[in-house]
């Protein structure tokens, strides 16, 4: 192809990308940069309608002394670790039992993925009713068999467990279908060969299934660690961060600072802190994945 034509080609391909890039520029790139700038200034809408002067890292320093923020950070990390681990484990168990092409298994899979396609705020609402201290399904059932009511969302440590359970209910299906996709990639010949060799079910699990599932496990971890660390919707409609601050996640806390108190600079700084943390963990995870992938491939070949 002549050189000039090729350059023309590049131009039109760029043109293709333009509308999408424009939207992202306006609604993502601009806000992100704006918030970075604001995080170094001093602006609270409560005291002034225009941004104040630059204060360096003051807003960031403030976050490290903010007990409520640090508490939210600890809560989010705990939430993220517990929810992710349980979702991966439960998701694997479900996938192990639902993989297959029979009609019954297909129907079961379809039903099991329903929680993950509904709005997290609706998920929260459902569980808010089920866990209601007086009339909720759980407590009425407990009373019926002669046990006392439990205040699932009103007791600080129990509330935390409850919101974690709600997250697990909604997102275990994600781990399940990704594992299912991973399992269906394993060639049948491998199973046949293993069986000819007289391998036990446990041995097949350990030597074929688990190594094959390592790459998809990293994908699940990546998405679930990031999304559960940044949880807000389901908490917003169940506990609203309470009782006290026991279920206040970093996102919910930042949301309050931003949309309720209009501490623009401080909220920006906090949101950048959690961005750095999130992206750091995500890229670290991808780095580990690459290493693990290479070592598995080395073993296989």
């Amino acid at each position: 192809m002549p050189r000039r034509k090729s350059r023309h080609e590049v131009g039109s391909l760029m043109l293709f990308a333009l509308p999408a890039l424009a939207i992202i520029l306006v609604a993502q790139a601009f806000p992100v940069i704006y918030s970075l700038v604001m995080s170094f200034r001093n602006w609270s809408l409560a005291s002034s309608l225009t941004p104040g002067g630059f204060v360096g890292l003051e807003n960031y320093a403030k976050a490290f002394h903010d007990k409520v923020f640090l508490n939210a950070l600890a809560m989010s990390i705990f939430f993220c670790v517990v929810a992710t681990v349980l979702e991966v484990v439960l998701g694997f168990i479900l996938a192990y039992f639902t993989v297959g092409e029979s009609m019954a298994l297909r129907v079961a899979r379809t039903i099991l993925i329903l929680p993950m396609v509904i709005a997290p705020v609706a998920n929260g609402t459902i569980w808010r009713m089920i866990l209601n201290p007086q009339y909720g399904l759980f407590n009425v059932a407990l009373n019926h068999i002669g046990l006392n009511s439990v205040d699932w969302l009103g007791n600080p440590s129990l509330a935390l467990c409850s919101v974690i359970a709600i997250d697990i209910w909604q997102w275990t299906p994600y781990a399940m279908i990704v594992f299912c996709a991973g399992l269906s990639l394993i060639p049948n010949e491998l199973y046949d060969a293993a069986r000819v060799d007289g391998a036990s079910r446990f041995r097949i699990l350990r030597s074929i299934i688990i190594p094959y599932l390592v790459p998809v496990t990293f994908i699940i971890l990546l998405f679930r660690i990031v999304d559960s660390f940044l949880v807000i919707d389901a908490i917003y409609t169940t506990t609203f961060g309470g009782p006290g601050f026991s279920t206040t996640s970093v996102t919910l806390y930042t949301y309050w600072q931003a949309m309720r108190y209009f501490n623009i600079s401080y909220a920006s700084a906090v949101s950048w802190l959690i961005s750095i943390l999130t992206l750091g963990v995500a890229s670290g995870l991808m780095h580990v994945q690459r290493k693990v992938q290479l070592s598995i491939m080395g073993v296989k070949s």
Binding site: F16, P31, A119, A122, M129
Partner: protein
């Protein structure tokens, strides 16, 4: 996977699947039954999953008086439809260009990387600046503000998905079109786009779900007029009285369309939901 199953496997599968299915079905059933239950039966012991009297008063309630759900339902539908058209349209176009450009130019590969990054950073970062931007443009509390925000989240998803689909298209297909003298636009519309229609369907389904369910950003730029259903539902948390009837009926309106969606689009849906896990 084809293999003979041991008794132990079949038995444990029956137990695990029964428990899992119950755990999924009972909450939904409970929600639905609450939406058609009379007030008094909310606190019946033993709890009733099947109401003894069926009433539609809660649905009548949410469709009447102050805070009529109809307007918000319409908002949600309008937003979802525009977001699907806008983000799948621009996203499919952009990823066609980027899929090729990123191989030729490192800078373009970096642009793709930045677009995908949108999926991973916390969306709270953009809340205030986007709010201020919309305020300065006098677009607060408009469907437009919600649509642009949703699209900016959906486009990265579409790009990620569609690049995978474009890369599966055999290169010969495009080369022969090039020899026939087709320019980029003609190749896209007449040769490539028809081939990647399954990808477009997947992208449309996923963006519809994302937009329909989105809460965080919508809630920060709407006040009264442009509320979507999730924002409306979240406002029930501040109600002091337990208004379970309206709460459940509204939730059913948010959930049911997604169930129907899943039923009819399953084949495409799975690929969208497992994006990134399996090549593509």
């Amino acid at each position: 996977m084809r293999r003979e199953h041991s008794v132990l496997y079949v038995a444990s599968r029956a137990v695990v699947l029964t428990l899992a299915l119950l755990a999924v079905i009972v909450p939904f059933l409970y929600l639905f039954s609450n939406s058609i239950k009379v007030e008094a039966e909310f606190r019946a012991t033993p709890p009733r999953l099947i109401p003894s009297i069926v009433t539609f008063e809660h649905y009548r309630n949410i469709f009447s008086g102050n805070g009529h759900i109809g307007a918000y339902l319409l908002n949600s539908v309008i937003v979802a439809v525009i977001v699907v058209v806008l983000s799948v349209g621009t996203g499919a176009l952009a990823s066609f260009g980027l899929a090729k450009l990123r191989k030729r130019y490192r800078s373009m590969a970096f642009v793709v990387y930045l677009i995908l990054l949108v999926r991973f950073y916390p969306k709270v970062v953009m809340l205030i600046p986007y709010f201020i931007l919309m305020r300065n443009m006098h677009l607060l509390d408009t469907v437009f503000a919600v649509v642009i925000a949703h699209s900016s989240i959906c486009i990265p998803f579409v790009v990620w998905l569609m690049i995978g689909f474009y890369e599966e298209v055999p290169i010969e297909l495009e080369e022969s079109a090039m020899l026939d003298g087709c320019n980029a636009w003609m190749r896209f519309t007449q040769v490539i786009f028809p081939v990647v229609l399954p990808g477009v369907a997947t992208a449309a389904i996923m963006t519809a779900i994302l937009s329909w369910n989105e809460f965080l950003i919508s809630s920060s730029v709407v006040a009264i007029h442009a509320k979507t259903l999730p924002v409306l539902l979240s406002s029930y948390i501040s109600d002091k009285g337990v208004n379970w009837g309206s709460m459940s009926a509204t939730s059913v309106f948010i959930i049911l369309p997604m169930f129907i969606f899943v039923l009819f689009t399953q084949r495409y849906l799975i690929r969208g939901l497992t994006l990134g896990a399996v090549k593509g």
